[in-house]
Each structure stands twice: as C-alpha cells, then as structure tokens.
C-alpha cells in the first residue's frame, strides 16, 4: 500500500491543505453568491414553511350521522365513547377525551360537531417521494427481468430471439424517454383501456403505464449491460463448463451469470440511479411523483427557491442510498 500512495499527486504537505482551503472557498463563494443574488431581487427565504409539506397537523371533526340525544359518554382510558340515541336507533363515536364538544343530555341534529382533535397527516412532498420510490422500485425489478431476458436473447444464435432483442434495444435506445412515455400513455394506454372497457373490465391506472415505460426503457440498457457482462467472462469458462457435460443453460446459471453479475453491479447502479431521476418525467401523465408534487406545492406556496432545492435534495437522498446499497452488495460479493 505504501508504494501505491506515491502514485497520488498530493501528499499531506502544506500545499495540500491550501488546496483544501481553496475547495472550501469555492463552495462558500457559490452559496454566498447565490444568497446575495436572491437578496438583490428581494426574495424572502421562508424555510419554516417547508416542513408542513412533509407532515402537517390536520383538525379532524367528528360529526353526528343521526339526529338525537347524547345518551351517555363512557370513558375508556384516554378515549371516550359518545352514544347518541334516537328512538331505538343508537350510534356510538369514539373520540379522544380532550376534544369533546358535547355533554350528556344535549340534543343534536345531523351534521353537528361532536368532537374535534388534531391529527398528523402525510404532506404532499412525502407522498410524492413515496410514489417516486414505489415507481422506481417496481420499474427496477421489471427492468432487471426484461434486461436479463433481452440480454440473453441478444447473444443467442437463434435469429428470432437475437433480432427481436436487437430491434427492441435499438427502438428503445433510439427514441427519447419522454416520447416513449407519451406513447405508453396516449397510444398504448388508450388502446388498452378502451379494449378493457369494451369487455367490461376495470381500467388500468396511469401509474402502471408509467412503470411500463420506465421498465422497458431501463430494460434495453440493462440488456446491453448484461450482454457486455456475459461477454466479458473469458470463453474458457464456458468451454470448461460444457466440457464437463453441463448444458448451455446449466453453464450459464452456475458458471457464467454469477461471475458476470459481480461485474455488472457498478454499471447497473448507474442505470438505476438514472431511472430514479427519469421517473421525474412521469408528472406529465398525471402521476404525482416528487417533481409534480413539488410543482404543485410551488404554485400554492410561492416558495420556489426553497422547494426546488428540497426536491433535488430528496432525489439525492434516494440515489445516494441506492448507490451505497449496491456498493455494499458489490463488496459482499467480492468477499464470498
């Protein structure tokens, strides 16, 4: 290791620390410059307004569903049951003790507030983040599957498999994802849902067309990664496996793919990070993922600067976590 360290240009000399200082200066100047500019145009930073879009306290009102009289209020720990009676009809409402607005013997009519209490609710940004995560994970799972199949077909000697795979890969890689999303939603989606409706079947949600668009898009790139991974394994490995009497699929499963998989983790990680970021395009087909959610919040809150930074930061958290996860997997596979 010692000999390797001499390869690095910088050792820990005074000049090293000077350049560290330069780096810090660049970062500080960028942030400072940005802040100064916003002050010049009189932008008011209101960071305190942001947390409410992650989670907020909503006031829940419990209303009577019948006319009648409050017959009794029964205590059950820190909750109470309000029992409303009218003739033989009886209705019971469980509410927190602190929020009760009625007494025993009160007459109430339909729609009166019996109790109110605050409740934490998930904000729109967190909902958007969750949807982004969900869409990405499903698309990654399908993308791996599609990519593996297409990658294996790509190196097959069967022309039907090989040419299908090449056609798929070239079509997908040669057109913009945005256009593909439109095709999935407006063309295939319309076709599919109209046919379903004609046969009296339930409709497919836009979410699934979005997932399909991302999965097929990623699948084409994964296919090329898989192909390159398999072809990077020395052909002697396949020969050795086949010479022992193992069939082609057996050799693939036991010898080639485990070795190829280890090598393709880094490029796969890059592909999946791209997928998470590309999911931001799904907003255009009415899927309220993180970017669309942010846009909606911006129009109501009028705090675009804070919100777009927060949006970027949330994507960064997702991609960074994924990147760490795959690095961990890679390390673990190298040990085994």
């Amino acid at each position: 290791m010692d000999s390797a360290s001499t390869l690095y240009r910088f050792k820990k000399t005074p000049s090293y620390y000077a350049w560290v200082a330069v780096f810090i200066l660049i970062v500080a100047a960028t942030i400072g410059g940005l802040y100064y500019s916003t002050q010049e145009i009189d932008y008011v930073w209101r960071w305190y307004r942001i947390p409410r879009y992650f989670a907020y306290q909503d006031n829940v009102e419990i209303r009577a569903e019948i006319d009648g009289e409050v017959d009794r209020i029964e205590s059950q720990g820190n909750e109470e049951s309000i029992i409303v009676v009218k003739d033989s009809e009886e209705a019971s409402y469980r509410v927190p003790t602190a929020g009760i607005r009625v007494d025993e013997g009160d007459f109430i009519s339909y729609g009166d507030v019996l109790a109110t209490y605050p409740k934490w609710k998930v904000g729109i940004l967190l909902q958007g983040l969750w949807l982004t995560l969900k869409v990405s994970v499903i698309a990654i799972v399908f993308g791996i599957f599609v990519g593996l199949v297409a990658g294996l077909a790509r190196i097959s000697s069967n022309p039907a498999l090989k040419w299908s795979s090449i056609t798929y890969i070239e079509l997908i890689r040669g057109s913009p994802l945005l256009v593909q999303i439109f095709i999935w939603y407006f063309v295939l989606g319309t076709l599919f849902n109209t046919l379903l409706a004609k046969n009296g079947l339930p409709q497919v949600q836009p979410l699934w067309f979005g997932v399909a668009a991302l999965a097929t898009f990623t699948g084409a790139y994964v296919a090329e990664i898989v192909r390159a991974g398999i072809q990077s394994i020395h052909k002697g490995q396949m020969e050795a496996a086949r010479s022992l009497g193992m069939s082609y699929p057996q050799s693939m499963i036991h010898v080639i793919l485990p070795q190829a998989f280890r090598r393709i983790i880094p490029p796969l990680a890059g592909q999946f990070i791209s997928l998470i970021k590309d999911s931001s395009l799904l907003g255009i087909i009415a899927i309220r993922e993180l970017t669309k959610a942010t846009r909606e919040v911006v129009t109501t809150s009028l705090q675009p600067f804070e919100l777009w930074f927060v949006c970027a930061l949330l994507y960064l958290i997702l991609t960074f976590t994924l990147s760490m996860l795959l690095q961990y997997m890679e390390r673990r596979m190298l040990v085994s």
Binding site: Q237, E239, A241, L244, G245, M246, S247, H254, Q259
Partner: protein, 243 residues
Amino acid sequence: MIDVRNVYKTFFVPHQVQALVDVSARIEPGEVVVVIGPSGSGKSTFLRCLNHLETADRGHIFIDGIDILDRKTDINKVRAEVGMVFQSFNLFPHKTVQDNICLAQRVVRKRSKGEAEQKTFTLLEKVGIRDKAGVYPDQLSGGQQQRVAIARALAMDPKIMLFDEPTSALDPEMIGEVLDVMKALAKEGMTMVCVTHEMGFAREVADRVIFMDEGKIVEEGTPEHFFTSPTHDRTKLFLSQIL
C-alpha cells in the same frame, strides 16, 4: 474407443485457415497418445473436435461408437465421458476448489452432496492437494490449479481424458508436479490424448505419437520410432528444432 474418419475443419475468422485436412485416427482403450507439431498445425483443433468444442465441417468422429457429429446425439452425455484439461486451467474463480470439483458431479451426474464431496476429497488426495479444498483458485499456484482442473475432470469418471497443452502456461518448476499426476493416470490405464510440447513425457509415457503439420497427420508411430528414426523430412526438421 475414438475413431476419427476423414475430418476437415476450416476457420474463416480472423482469416481463412484450413485447420484440419482429411484427418483420420483411431485411439484404442487404455492407449496414451501424444499429439505434437508446430504451432498452428491443427493439433489443438483436432483435440477440441473430439469433444465437440469445435465442430468438424466434414467427416465422422465416433466416441465409444457414438457419432458425435450426428445432430441427434446428446453431446452433453458424450462430454461427461470425455474429460478435458485446458492450457489456462479454466477453473471457476467464484467457487472454491471443492465446489469447482463438486459442481458438475451434482449438476450432471446428479450425485448427492455427500457422495460428491467424498469423491472430491479422494481426488484431491490423489493429486496431492487435499488441504486446499476450501480455498479459491486465485490463491493457488499454477501447478496446483492445473491439478485441481485434472481432479475436476476426473470427478466425472470419464473414459477418456483430453489434455490441451496442460503445462504450457506453467512456470518451469511446476511442470513436474502436473506431469507426475498425468503419468500416474496413464499407469492406471486411462485412455489419454495429450497435446504437449513435453517430449520427455511423450518418450516416457506415450504408446503412440502423432505428428501434425498444416492440418494433416504427417507421421505417427511409437515413441522409439519417432525419436530415433522418423521417416518424414518435416518431422526430422521439427524434432531437430525442439530437441
């Protein structure tokens, strides 16, 4: 046991080469045949045709009476009976020595885990590296790796063993240990076809030597005939260059 009749093989990539031209040979059970010749003479192609790693263009190759060029032949079954050892070992780097040897026993021969492991340890004992069962191939020396590769091939209980320059990638001090294993195998009566440059091995162990040049079998005979009184000029020239 092996019957090769009028086999032709031409490669077109990277450029057109006639690797085998009308090659015929018979190898009897228990026979040890050494194939020698200058590089590019087709000797490796000949060997690789015997277990169908290369497909001959024309002719017939019978292994134990089965025509391996017949499309209806299940080549995997034939290959399980024909062990092969490669110049570059081709051990599976993601598996331990033990798993390298167990894999095909489990997958192809459908042996139980216990059976396969017992066989593996017997073979590791035989090639003299029983203590290396749990390590990965990259932790072994070249000679040790090649001995594991031999054990891996033997684990299938093959009737024939093919050796494709098994010592050419080894450091000189490790050649001996691999040749010793091969000699022991020959003594047990294994049918062997070896492509090698080890003339000492050919002289000592071979029942027959085949000399190939430009895709043809130029001369074949016993080692004595071969090393003392070769008939063809091409053979004489080759021997004078290497001995």
